[in-house]
């Protein structure tokens, strides 16, 4: 559907061009989403690829087991609750402000520029940190897969060589950056194959681990107990908070299915059903893998123990061989493809948020630059890539276990920006929260409780991470590296915000994006 538009629109050359809903709509023949093309199965596949379970599990099993021990299955179940509550609020915001759409715009509309800026910053930081972690996992598994394919274990050791590791990471970053700059997307069939492959291999891994256990060949045979499902048997609240923070990381991306409206065949029912189906599949998969790994490896610090700091940032790399034997290469390929695909698609998020922030003059104008050829956020994409790589390079040098520490930092950052968005929902709808039961539940209670849980988890992990023992045990001057990272990233945000306010106050004085409520 194209509509002719021959009238030339006057545009402000002062550079302040606020896009309001009406203008954006009137200028467009149709929105950029491809409408009505995704069915229930497609939406579920997208949901699962968003979560990227093979990557997520290898990165989080170790740190979670280290924090909560055998209570891991229970913590995974509880950890979903704040994610669910916040996602319900997300969906309400998405339906109420379909012409906004990211944490940055929502939080700005609800709370005004300052918290809005920090909400956007939290999202950018979280995605940039996950990009570096994804690339790190991809690097490890690239060399592992090569070692397995050529039957030469020495190749896998290349990942331990810091310069080689950092340069390989650069290659992955440049590749992913280039693909998103060109605006290329994985086709549906590629996504189906990747998801199917991941699910099959992970189930294979879990069954193989249980078979080893039954045959008495497990590394540290730990018999299953129903008590593993009890999240409140965790030793301390700090451990509980750390576990929940990690669980939020493992479900991260699930909320995307809920906000898929226009592109689904039936916007009323498909997103909800797909989100439910996705989470059921993910639950079964996570519990299966968590329980089977615990049964095989135990939580000790031995060679293949989940508590071993040497392997915790990337447990499948260590466990694939002992559990899957000659087929271990399949697991390597599953994780490698999962993390490489996720690396590429995740680039798009921070780049677009930075572009929107550049447009509203919350970031320097350069970030709003769009490639005339590929119509993609050129400058923002390159910045995301450079920063993610630089972050990884620095971490690789100063941290004992770069992957564990980035995952813990990441959990904190996700708590932060989800929390801001949840409270933005509560505040934005405050005038109609008590209108009816549905509104009260979805627009007030759910996001409020979700936001409060996240706030408590965020503060608790921030305080606990000050201990030099936290995470991989890396510390600078007696302060835990995870704390330093978390505090540095947030304070850097505040500092940059103040600089931006001084350089260009337009956004901060509400000239480009206005505050409002649902009743405005």
């Amino acid at each position: 559907m194209a509509r002719s538009k021959s009238v030339q629109k006057p545009h402000a050359d002062a550079g302040i061009d606020f896009i309001d809903a009406a203008e954006a709509k009137s200028g467009l023949s149709s929105k950029g989403l491809s409408a009505g093309t995704v069915g229930l199965l497609g939406a579920t596949v997208i949901g699962i690829s968003c979560i990227a379970p093979a990557y997520t599990l290898t990165a989080s099993l170790g740190p979670t087991a280290a924090a909560v021990g055998t209570q891991m299955p229970g913590i995974f179940l509880v950890g979903f609750l704040p994610m669910l509550l916040v996602a319900l609020g997300y969906r309400e915001l998405n339906n109420a402000m379909p012409d906004s759409g990211t944490s940055f715009t929502w939080a700005t509309r609800a709370f005004g520029p300052w918290l809005g800026w920090l909400g956007g910053w939290g999202l950018i930081v979280a995605t940039v940190v996950v990009l570096s972690n994804l690339a790190g996992v991809a690097v490890d598994f690239l060399y592992l897969a090569l070692a397995q394919i050529f039957g030469n274990p020495a190749i896998a050791d290349l990942a331990g060589n810091i310069p080689i590791n950092i340069l390989t990471c650069l290659v992955f970053m440049v590749g992913a950056c280039y693909v998103s700059y060109r605006g290329m997307e994985a086709t549906k069939s590629v996504q189906y194959w990747l998801v199917g492959f991941q699910l099959i291999i992970l189930v294979w891994f879990a069954i193989a681990a249980i078979v080893h256990f039954s045959a008495g060949n497990a590394f540290d045979a730990t018999p299953f107990s129903l008590n593993w499902f009890n999240p409140f048997a965790v030793s301390s609240f700090s451990a509980f908070a750390a576990g929940v923070s990690l669980s939020i990381f493992i479900f991260w991306g699930w909320d995307v299915t809920l906000t898929m409206n226009e592109e689904t065949k039936n916007p009323k029912t498909t997103p909800g059903r797909a989100a439910t189906l996705t989470v059921v599949i993910i639950f079964v998969l996570y519990l299966l893998v968590a329980i089977s790994s615990l049964m095989f490896s135990g939580i000790g610090a031995g060679e293949f123990g989940l508590g071993n700091e040497e392997i915790s940032g990337n447990v499948f790399a260590a466990l694939a061989g002992p559990i899957m034997g000659p087929f271990a290469v399949l697991l390597s390929l599953a994780v490698l493809s999962s993390s490489a695909a996720s690396l590429q698609s995740t680039f798009v998020g921070p780049a677009r948020t930075m572009l929107a922030m550049g447009h509203y003059q919350a970031f320097p104008k350069r970030f709003a630059g769009i490639s005339p050829r590929f119509k993609s956020p050129a400058f923002a994409t390159v910045v995301a890539g450079v920063v993610a790589w630089a972050f990884y390079a620095v971490m690789r040098v100063i941290s004992n276990d770069v992957l564990t520490d980035t995952i813990l930092t990441l959990g904190m950052m996700i708590c932060f920006y989800y929390g801001v968005t949840a409270f933005a929902c509560v505040w934005y709808f405050r005038k109609e929260a008590f209108g009816n039961a549905r509104s009260f539940l979805l627009r007030f209670l759910a996001p409020l409780v979700g936001g409060l849980i996240l706030a408590v988890i965020f503060v608790t992990t921030l305080i606990d991470s000050m201990s030099p023992e936290y995470g991989s045990g890396s510390n600078i001057g007696g302060l835990g590296l995870v704390f330093i990272l978390g505090a540095f990233l947030l304070l850097a945000g505040v500092a940059l915000m103040l600089v931006m306010r001084a350089v260009n106050p337009a956004f901060f004085t509400g000239q480009t994006l206005k505050k409002g409520t649902s009743r405005d």
């Binding site: 950029g32 997208i46 990227a52 906004s100 991260w252 996720s342 995740t346 119509k375």
Partner: protein
């Protein structure tokens, strides 16, 4: 309501887009058609990412930028040419342009053909290449650095002896109807020192001329020429080319019905052709 002849111009805010507009202007002046200047934005499919990537604020920003680019493009359109501008969303640029030809019932797509960074006069860029494989209407390719002249004085039509040349001639009859423009029919012959010249070319051009003259409605002179050279490129270079000239060529018979597919000869012509080329689908339905 009379349908107004119109051409879809594939615009992007680069030198390629500018060349497309210039060729659009030249063609619009030749045949008194209107221009539909289109900028195609990539439609987001549901990308599997950790954070939502399809958001309206982002789409609003690029749509606004696209409109600004189109406003700038309109400055280059002279007063004697009627042009409208359109922001479109599609999975790919070529798909969007082909959809636009259906919406506007356009007669042609005009595109800047060059690929960036290569010195050849004509190296096909990805959008032009995709169009050459899928367009149901003729595709006009603008060479690097093209600028419209006041009027087009000659149209050259390159044809071979293979089936399909009548279709190309029919469309030449249509294009040149009522125009005062010189027409030149050429055949390109690859010759090398060992094999003597094949006499068939002259006879074929005679047949072509008879066929065309029986149907023509144009007023200019009609000439024929056989171009020879050791390669197709050399044969093209052996001809004289004017700055205010355009060339027509038929698409290969390999293409599915009503779709263009550029044959090897036409493809190689492009390498040395200094003027715009219009590729006409010649395969009969």
């Amino acid at each position: 309501m009379n349908h107004i002849g119109n051409y879809v111009v594939a615009y992007e805010a680069t030198e390629r887009g500018r060349e497309a507009i210039e060729l659009g202007i030249a063609l619009a002046r030749l045949t008194t058609a209107e221009l539909r200047i289109c900028l195609v934005l990539p439609r987001s499919t549901a990308v599997a990412a950790k954070v939502p990537v399809a958001s309206a604020d982002y789409e609003g920003v690029i749509a606004q930028q696209a409109q600004l680019w189109l406003d700038e493009a309109m400055v280059h359109v002279p007063a004697d040419v009627v042009a409208t501008n359109h922001v479109l969303w599609a999975e790919s640029t070529s798909e969007g342009l082909i959809e636009a030809t259906e919406t506007f019932q356009s007669d042609r797509i005009v595109v800047g053909a060059a690929r960036t960074g290569i010195l050849d006069r004509f190296t096909i860029g990805s959008v032009a290449n995709a169009l050459l494989h899928a367009s149901p209407v003729p595709v006009a390719l603008a060479p690097r650095g093209y600028r419209a002249q006041a009027r087009i004085s000659r149209v050259t039509c390159a044809l071979g002896t293979r089936a399909g040349w009548q279709t190309l001639l029919d469309s030449m009859v249509e294009v040149s109807a009522g125009l005062d423009v010189e027409l030149r029919f050429v055949t390109l012959v690859e010759v090398d020192a060992r094999s003597p010249r094949i006499p068939g070319s002259d006879d074929h051009l005679k047949t072509v001329l008879e066929y065309f003259n029986a149907r023509k409605r144009s007023r200019g002179t009609v000439s024929t020429q056989v171009a020879e050279g050791p390669t197709v490129e050399a044969a093209v270079e052996s001809l004289d080319w004017r700055d205010d000239e355009i060339a027509f060529v038929g698409s290969s018979r390999l293409g599915s019905p009503r779709r263009i597919f550029l044959g090897t000869t036409a493809n190689r012509m492009l390498h040395s052709l200094p003027v715009p080329l219009v590729v006409v689908p010649t395969t009969t339905p």
